[in-house]
Symmetry: C2
Subunit: 421 residues, 2 copies
């Protein structure tokens, strides 16, 4: 029984015809290992940006259906060219867009979720000896409408295909060499992790280490698909394997440190302290599809019987959030709304911190020793996050990386770009 | 009952975002006339050339399946952008690729023929008040394989949609103002024809007046779809209407003059004069999909019992033709093969020449008076073609245009490019 390997190459890996020829070599190398290979590709380099620019030239507010029609073309170009490149090197290959295979999604444009993948056509073509090249980022509804999967879409396509085909592994080729203990651009002696759990990777991703989109990691976790993040350019480097925590031996309490400055803190002052007020606030935000990250409600002030409610949202969602708050503020009879954009969330992540009570206090003490003020704190089983001033975040990451002994002796070779999605 | 108008815009009409906005205006103008509108568009400007170049960088001999996957993306970009442009101007619109509608073709890549078009989705969307924007040039097989229709494909898509929807008219918008009595770049006082029959248009097209691809005219004739060729830029000019000959009043014996220098003459010398030899030759060419145009077989020379067989093929088909001839020559025990590339076929076309015997002799005399040697002659009911030296073709066209009184008093305003397909 042959094993199926799913490979995913991002836009920088297929940015021009020479790079596409190189990707073909990497694909064939895996096929020559005796495996069946399914390849998922993104749009070439800046194709998507170019298409978005044309769309906005024409219509400042294009419909999401037509944006999906437009953007899905980028991947269709890549799959045909990569297939031609594989064929030029003497191997059987065939390309399919999402509609042809049946990568079924919900009927939602611009950020649809995959609900099912038909495997009949894929299996038939693999059995015939073909390397299969699939357009990432796109899906199709039961009615034949073209959808896209949103940020990180191609990673998600690859993982979902690997799950559907019961693949041995899903290799995400990118221009970084794997997952690091922290951003190597900030901490030069950051170590590459050989192995990390889905749970840690999810927290790392949410905490700002955007090697992989959280959705793809969640899907991998759900279907137990081993994921490998590896370099398109250094094929001998095996990158980072991402698996279930039960498959790992845990040595250190903390696996990684991450900073995320994409959020903004909002404080709604003087919310009357009656039951259900916080629920009203966050229900209204949820209805508008605003994801709230950290939330703190201060103790009610006895004299005024009001609370201050602080929370964070992404900068992208700020305008929508303010719109909602204008309405909610009146409804709740709340006070001022304060916005703080110069913040950063610093997190330590590690499956090993469960039942080791000293970790949080070490983190707080380390930040205090570095003279960094903590504005908010949130914790999960395997993560502790502190909101701090943005200007302090590099200092905080370095101090935490040191105190938890995450560095290695070598200095990582760092490329200037992060992988696209 | 609302009428359906199908409009087709070629690549030069949608070459950039500004032009796409203009096309949207033209589309809306027709919608505002109270008609249901279905628009067919080609790929933007040089998109197809760019895609072909990338393909050839990667694979000098790309598979036709993958070329169809690749090239079909060009039209998918145009339809999304045009739809956004129509929406920006406040009208309901929706785009569909060929797979979504079900423009079913034979299972042949790079030059498939349309076998059926599903109209359910189109009618439903028209009933909902949408302007429908459809990707030209592409189709889909019963198995979901993407095909393309070859040269002139978008014209054919438009006509086939008009036939399927029983449309009032199919308007082909282009950068010429209509069909002329001859190429206005050659004869400045060429007249625009207000009306021309399908049959004449077919002969004009085959004779080198490449305003419309013959296949689209054949389809229009088959389903009696009135076609109008008109300018994208001069909307008040009604262009040329193409209808059945029975709907026309015929005044002149000759409607137009055309020259075609895309062919090459081949002479196979000394083919033994035994039955079936010519059949062998042309069957072998047909098997390789080479279309032969003019054919002349000389009288058998008594002394040698051999014939010379002369015929013309397009320059594009020359390499394939020579390959076939190398094999056939041995099989037939024929003599040398001579090739003449410096030829041109000059034709006069007119439904009115039926039963007017003087027309052919006027043509031959006119060429003789101009000192032009005729190398081959072929005739149909409504066309007489003479093969001449290429260097004489402008002179020939001018002389014939004059003698059949096709000119007008004005000098046509001519754009330098011919419409793409």
């Amino acid at each position: 029984m042959r094993k199926v390997i799913v490979q995913k190459f991002g836009g920088t890996s297929v940015a021009d015809t020479e790079k596409i020829k190189n990707v073909a070599k990497t694909v064939i190398r895996e096929k020559n290992n005796g495996n069946d290979v399914v390849v998922v590709v993104s749009a070439m380099g800046h194709t998507t940006d170019h298409l978005v620019k044309m769309a906005h030239d024409i219509n400042p507010n294009p419909s999401s259906r037509e944006m999906d029609m437009l953007l899905s073309t980028g991947e269709c170009v890549s799959i045909a060219l990569l297939t031609m490149a594989i064929q030029a090197q003497g191997h059987k290959a065939v390309s399919f867009n999402a509609s042809q295979i049946g990568i079924l999604t919900e009927n939602v444009h611009s950020k649809a979720r995959i609900v099912d993948i038909k495997t009949e056509k894929l299996k038939k073509n693999l059995d015939e000896g073909n390397i299969i090249v699939v357009a990432g980022f796109q899906g199709v509804t039961e009615d034949g409408e073209i959808t896209t999967l949103g940020r990180g879409g191609s990673d998600t396509s690859a993982v979902a295909l690997a799950a559907a085909l019961n693949a041995e592994r899903c290799d995400i080729y990118t221009d970084v060499e794997g997952v690091y203990t922290t951003d190597p651009r900030v901490v030069p002696n950051a170590s590459r992790l050989d192995i990390v759990s889905y749970e840690e990777m999810l927290e790392l991703a949410h905490a700002g280490a955007n090697v992989l989109h959280p959705r793809s990691v969640e899907t991998a976790k759900q279907y137990s698909v081993p994921l490998r993040v590896r370099s398109s350019f250094k094929l001998d480097n095996m990158g980072t394997l991402i698996v279930g925590v039960e498959q790992m031996e845990i040595n250190k309490p903390v696996t990684g440190v991450a900073a995320d400055s994409s959020q903004v803190r909002i404080v709604v002052c003087e919310v009357p302290d009656t039951p259900g007020e916080a629920a009203t606030l966050f229900t209204c935000l949820a209805k508008e599809n605003v994801s709230v990250d950290m939330i703190i409600q201060s103790y009610a002030r006895k004299e005024s019987k009001t609370n201050d409610i602080a929370f964070t949202v992404t900068k992208e969602d700020l305008p929508k959030t303010l719109e909602v708050l204008e309405v909610v503020k009146k409804k709740l009879n709340a006070g001022d709304i304060k916005i703080d954009e110069d913040i950063s969330k610093v997190s330590i992540i590690g499956a090993g911190m469960i039942d080791r009570p000293g970790i949080a206090s070490t983190m707080f003490q380390t930040l205090a020793d570095a003279g960094i003020n903590i504005k908010m704190i949130s914790t999960s089983e395997i993560k502790i996050s502190c909101l701090i001033n943005k200007e302090d975040d590099t200092k905080a990451v370095k101090a935490l990386h040191d105190v938890f002994q995450l560095g290695c002796d070598e200095v990582a070779e760092v490329k200037g770009t992060l992988p696209d999605v």
